[in-house]
Amino acid sequence: MSDILVIAEHRQGELRPVSLELIAAAKEAGASSVTVALIGANAADLTGAVSVEGVDEIVTVPTASANFQPDEWKAAVEALIAARSPSLVMLPHSVDSWGFAPALGATGNYGFATDVFGIANEGGEWVVTRAMYKEKVHAEIDFPGKSTVVVTVRGGTWKPAEGSSSPAVSSLDASATANSSHVEFIEPPATGDVDITQAEFMLSIGRGIAEEDNVEQFSELADAVGATLGCSRPIADSGWLPKSRQVGQSGKVVAACKLYLALGISGSVQHQAGMKHVDNIIAVNTDPEASIFSIARYGIVGDIFEIADELVTHFE
Amino acid sequence: MAESLDLTSLIEFAVSQGDPYVALALHPFADEKSRVSLEKIIFERKRLKLTFAAAPYTPQTILALLVDENDEQLKLRLSKNPALSPELLAKLFEGASPAVIKNIAGHRRTPVEVLEEIEWQGNDVLRAALCTNSNTPVNLLKELVVGSSSAEKKGIVANPNADCELLTQLWNEGDKFVQGEVAAHMACPPELREQALQHEDVLVRRKLAANETLTTDCLLLLMKDEDPLVRSAAIGNAVLEDDHLGSADDPSIRVRRTEAKRQDLSTQIVDGLVDDEDHWVRRWVARQPAASDSVLQKLSQDEVMEVRRAVGRNRSCPDYILERLAKDEDSWVRAGVALREDLARHILVGLEKDDDIDVISAVGRNPGTSEDVLLAIAEHDNRDVRRSVIVNPNVPDEALMKLQDDPYPLNRAILSGHPNCLTENLWFLLKDPEPQVRYTAGKALAVRCQATA
C-alpha cells in the first residue's frame, strides 16, 4: 500500500502554489491514493483550489487559528496519520514547515527527512534523495522499520498538478494547545522602486561583481539591454541595491519573468527559489561547477566584466 | 621569548608552539636540521597536506616535498596550484595520471619542454588545454592548428607566441571572431592589417583599431570609420599623438568618453570637451593632468557629484578649489580631497573634524594628519575606518599597538602584511587566532631576521 497524504500550505487565505507541486510529486511517486489535508480555521474554503487531477480525497482539519500555528498543525497531522495511516506524508520544504514538521520527526514515531527532491518506492520501502555538503553530494535516505515516513519536499522540483477532480471531502477534529499566537503579517516595505515581480526580462547580479563601484556598470548594461536589474541576497544585504531588487526565497519571486540573465551568481537553493521557474535562464560565471549552470538553458563560462564590456557594444 | 630579530629564537618559538602555519612560513628560511622539526609540524595531519598542496602561499620548499609524495589527491591539488614552480611542474609530470596531466597542460607555469612532451594527439581535453596555454611555443601551436576545431583556433589565436605565419593561417581558416583576434594581435602581418582595415565586419575593424602596434596613418583612417565603435577603439589607442585627437564634435558619446579617458590630452583638447553634455565625459576631463585652472574651476561646480570628486582627485587642482571642495555637501567629494597626500595642512585640519566614515578613512591614510587624530581613528567604532591608519607612513607606534588587538580579523591581517607593522606587533601576531595572520607575521619576521643578519 502506498497511500500518500499531502499537507497543503496556505497563507492569507490563499493556497500556496507549492501544494500543487506536492500533489504532482505524490502521483509520480506511485501513490495508490492521494489525500490532501487542509488545516486551519477557514481552510475548507480552499477545497476547490486543491481539487486538481490526481486527488482522491480531501480532509479538512478545522483549527482554532486561521493562520499557521505550529502546535495546531502538528496535532492535525498526527490526527490525520492516525486516521488514515498513510505510508508517506509530504509537506513543502517551506518556512512554515520548518516551524513544525521537525516536531513530527522528533516524536520518533515516523521516518523523517527534509528538503527532499527525489522520492522512490523500492519494494514497499520509501527511499528519498536530498543534498549534502552544500549540494556537492547527494544522499539516498531510507527509514528502516518505519511504517509512516514524513518528508518535506523541495519546491520547484515538480510541475504543479493541473486539471480538476471531484474528490470526497470530509472533516477531522484535532485539538491542541497553542503556545504561540499570530499577531500580524508585515508586508515588505513598498519602495518607490520598480516591481521586479512584474518584469519580463531580468538581469541579476551577485557577489561576482566584487565591489560596490561595479554596480554602476551593470545597471548601465541592464538599461542598455532593456532588462530590469535584480540581485542576490548578499548584494542587497550590503546595501548596494535596494532590498526590493532581491530575487529568491527571502526576496521576490520573479513571477512574470521569461528571460533571466544571472551574472556572477552561484545559484544557491534560496536564490533559485525566486527564479528557477523561468523558461530561459542564462548564466555567466567563471566557475564551470557553479550550480546556476544546472538550471540554465544557456551558459557562458567566463568573466562577467569582459562579457559585459562586449555585450554593451551590441545595444546602442 | 626574545622579541628580537633572531632567526634561531624565532624557529625555536615556532617549534615550541607546534603551529603548522608559522612553521610553514619559516621553513624556507631554516637550516636543514630545523627544517626537519618544522616538517613534523607541517605534515602532521593529512588534511594540512591537502590544504598546503592547494594553497598559493605555500613555499616552494614545502611544495617540493609534497611533489615527492605518492598520493593522487595531493598531486591533483599541486597541479592546480598556480604557484607551483616550473621545475616542480616538470617533476610532477613524471608518471602523472591523465587528470594531473590535464591540469599541467593548462598550467601557466609549465615549462615548454614539458608542454612539448605531452601526448595530446587524439585527446581533445589535452588539445584544448594546450591551445589556451600562453606558454605553448609557436612550433607546437603550429602542430595543434592542423585540423583544429573552431573553438581551438580561438584558443590559439589568443596566444602571444603566435607568429605571422600562424596568424595568416588562422585568418584564412577562421571566422570573423578569429580574424578579429588576429587583427588585434601584436604580430599581425601588414597584409592582414590592410585586409582588416577594409573588412566589412565592424568587429574586425574595431579589434584592429585597438592594436597598439598600428601605424598612425592606419589609425587615422580608422578614426574616420562610419562606425562609432571603431572610432572609439581608435581614439583610445595609445599610439595616437595629441595632434590627432579632438573628437568633441563626434556625435557618439562612446567616442567622446573614450577620448576623455586618455590621460594625455592637451589643454586645448580638454577645453573642447569640458562642456560635454555627458557627465561621464566631464568626469574623465576633470581628471586630466592638463586641465587648466579655469576648467577645474568650472567642473568643481558641476551638478554631478562624481565630476566634482574627480576635480578633487586631480593632481593639478589648486588649493583655492580644494578649499571649497573640502566643504562640499557630498561626503564622497570631501573624502576625495582628504585622500590627497599633498593637501595643505589648513585644509586637512578642517577635514579632521568630519564625521563621515569615508572622509575619516581618507584622513586616516593621510600622512599630514596629526598624531592625536590618527590615534583616535585607530580606536574608531567603525571597524573599516580603524584600519585606514595602518597604511599611513606617519602612523604612531601607539596606534599600531592598539590595532594588533583589533577584534576585526581583517584589520590584523592587513597589519601583519604591511611594512609599517612593528617587529613587536609581528611577535604578538604570531599567536593570532587566524592562521593566515600567523603565517604572514611569521614570514615577515623571518624576512626581517634575514635582512639584519
Binding site: 518556512v95 549534502m132 552544500k134 499577531v183 | 578579429g180
Partner: protein
C-alpha cells in the same frame, strides 16, 4: 537569567574529494571546518539580550561534535559566552538530527535555561530541523526563522518576527521559555577580541558522553535515528548549452539570444 545557544561545526567540502569506502559519507580528510554562519547570529542574539539586561545572566554554548568542534566553542567563549559543553563519543557517530536533538534536549533539561537559541539551519546539510525537534522533545514553545526578537529575561512571553517567503514577515507572540531558530541578518555578529579569546582559554568547557546525560546506546547513533543514509553519490550536473568562443563571440551570441528572447 540563563540562555543556552546550540552551535554546529559545519564542513566545507573541497572540489576534489573522495567518498568513504562504505559509501555512506565523504572522506572527512577533504573537509575544512568552521562554525555554522547562523550560529554567529544566535550567539549574538543571546549576548545582546544579556547586555540589555544590565550584563546580568549566564550564556552557555553547547555542541554535539568531535574533538575539532572545541575550536568553535572556544570562539564563542571568546565572544562572551560563559561556559561550554561538548557532547561526543563513538556511539553518537551516525546520529541523524532526531538523535542529535535528543542529546541536546538532555543538555537543556540539565541546564534549565530561560531560552534556547539555535540557527535556522546549518550551512553544510541544511536540514533546518534540529531546533524545532529539540523544542518538541522538551515540550517547549518554539518559533522558527526568527529575524527580529523582543524579549526581556523573566517575561512570560516574547514577541518575534518570522521571516516568511517573499519578504513577508509574521509577528507572533511565544510563551517562554522557548526554543527559537535564528535567521541571518537579525543582528550584526561581533568578532571576538583577542583579550576575549585569551580569557576564553580559562573558561570552563565540559566534555561529556551520551551516557553522562542518561541516554542509552540505542537512543543515539543509527539506533536512535528515524532515517539512515544508505549511500552518497556525486550528482550529475544539469546541462546548460555552453556558449563557446572568444569573449567577443560569446557576447555577440548572447546579444542575439537576448534580443530574440526578449522580443526586442
Amino acid at each position: 537569567m540563563k540562555i543556552l545557544v546550540a552551535i554546529k561545526q559545519v564542513a566545507n567540502l573541497d572540489d576534489d574529494f573522495e567518498i568513504r569506502d562504505d559509501g555512506k559519507d565523504v572522506d572527512h580528510d577533504f573537509c575544512d571546518y568552521e562554525i555554522n554562519e547562523w550560529d554567529d547570529y544566535s550567539l549574538e542574539t543571546a549576548l545582546q539580550i544579556r547586555e540589555n539586561n544590565g550584563d546580568e545572566g549566564e550564556i552557555v554554548v553547547v555542541t554535539v561534535g568531535p574533538d575539532d568542534a572545541e575550536d568553535e566553542l572556544r570562539k564563542c567563549l571568546g565572544k562572551g559566552a560563559d561556559r561550554a559543553i561538548r557532547v561526543w563519543d563513538d556511539a553518537i557517530e551516525g546520529s541523524d538530527q532526531v538523535a542529535i536533538a535528543r542529546i541536546l534536549t538532555k543538555v537543556v533539561e540539565k541546564e534549565a535555561p530561560d531560552m534556547v537559541f539555535m540557527g535556522v539551519q546549518a550551512a553544510d546539510n541544511a536540514y533546518a530541523q534540529t531546533g524545532v525537534a529539540v523544542a518538541q522533545q522538551l515540550g517547549w514553545p518554539h518559533a522558527a526563522v526568527v529575524n527580529a526578537l523582543e524579549y526581556t529575561p523573566g517575561a512570560s512571553t516574547a514577541t518575534a518576527n518570522r521571516e516568511l517567503e517573499g519578504g513577508l514577515e509574521e509577528k507572533i507572540t511565544v510563551n517562554c521559555p522557548a526554543v527559537m531558530t535564528i535567521q541571518l541578518g537579525i543582528n550584526e555578529p561581533r568578532y571576538a577580541s583577542l583579550r576575549g579569546i585569551k580569557q576564553a582559554a580559562g573558561k570552563p568547557l565540559d566534555e561529556i558522553s551520551h551516557s553522562d546525560l542518561g541516554l542509552s546506546d540505542d537512543e543515539v547513533g543509527e539506533a536512535g535515528s528515524v532515517s539512515r543514509v544508505r549511500k552518497v553519490f556525486v550528482p550529475e550536473k544539469g546541462q546548460a548549452e555552453l556558449i563557446e568562443g572568444t569573449p567577443a563571440e560569446q557576447a555577440a551570441r548572447l546579444a542575439e539570444i537576448l534580443k530574440e528572447l526578449s522580443g526586442a
